[in-house]
């Protein structure tokens, strides 16, 4: 039963990914930790591999619809490891709580901006 639940949550994760352009890890990680029984680190790592497959399929479909700028995507992807290094360094020097609150504030700010832009369009 728990395998079925995990499969259904991953289906929903993939669907979310396709709808809004994210990897779906937000649902894959709980599916892997709660229903498959992986640890948090194993769940996040395994989720990353799933995200690769999902993003390949999603990007391929979106490219068929004419919705991918490949050059821009390659530049963003290629420079992300630099950011990961910065992120890990920052995480080791700033309290986790401060980081959580900072990112929450940024997420809320972006949410407001997206809604304002959508309403104006």
């Amino acid at each position: 039963m728990s395998a079925l639940a995990a499969a259904l949550i991953c289906l929903a994760g993939g669907m979310t990914g396709g709808l809004v352009g994210v990897g779906g890890g937000i649902l894959f990680v709980p599916a892997l930790t709660v229903f498959i029984g992986l640890s948090q680190v194993e769940g996040e790592s395994t989720s990353l591999l799933m995200i690769v497959f999902v993003a390949i399929v999603g990007a391929y479909r979106q490219s068929g619809y004419g919705n991918v700028r490949l050059r821009e995507a390659l530049i963003i992807g290629a420079l992300s490891p630099l950011g990961v290094l910065v992120g890990v360094t920052v995480a080791n020097h700033v309290s986790e709580r401060a980081l959580q609150l900072a990112f929450a504030a940024l997420a809320l700010f972006m949410a407001v901006q997206l809604v304002r832009r959508a309403r104006a369009s």
Binding site: V22, G77, M110
Partner: protein, 126 residues
């Protein structure tokens, strides 16, 4: 899309998006898409569908770096489990992208805003 933008400037902005996506990925274990999609829409003026499609393509590379690092250096990736659960996930992403072509673009922005609020609430409560 800002018309009078030099290629160098655009490149710098893309580099900033990539670095930011990596920072948040490294800090919170979230895929970079949470940051890439809003920045492509708000900062580059992409339409929602173009932003989400380009984000997925970038995530392929970001996820690959992350999975290789976690799997290669730390052995934390359960490959068989990932492969099995990727099947329903891949079906989901095909459905999700197909649905996205049939709804108004602004609905994608509203959905994304909802996702961002959910993430913010989770971060505040955790």
């Amino acid at each position: 899309m800002p018309a009078a933008e030099s290629p160098d400037h655009a490149l710098l902005k893309l580099a900033a998006v990539g670095t930011l996506a990596g920072i948040f990925s490294g800090l919170f274990g979230v895929g970079g898409g949470t940051v890439i999609v809003p920045l492509l829409i708000l900062w580059f003026g992409y339409g929602e569908r173009l932003a989400t499609g380009t984000s997925l393509a970038a995530i392929v590379i970001i996820g690959l770096f992350g999975a290789l690092a976690q799997g290669g250096f730390y052995g934390n990736v359960h490959v068989a489990t990932a492969l099995l659960l990727s099947v329903p996930a891949a079906v989901g992403v095909v459905l999700g992208t197909a649905i996205q072509q049939r709804i108004p673009q602004r609905a994608v922005s509203y959905l994304f805003a909802l996702l961002l609020v959910a993430i913010a609430v989770e971060l505040i409560l955790s």
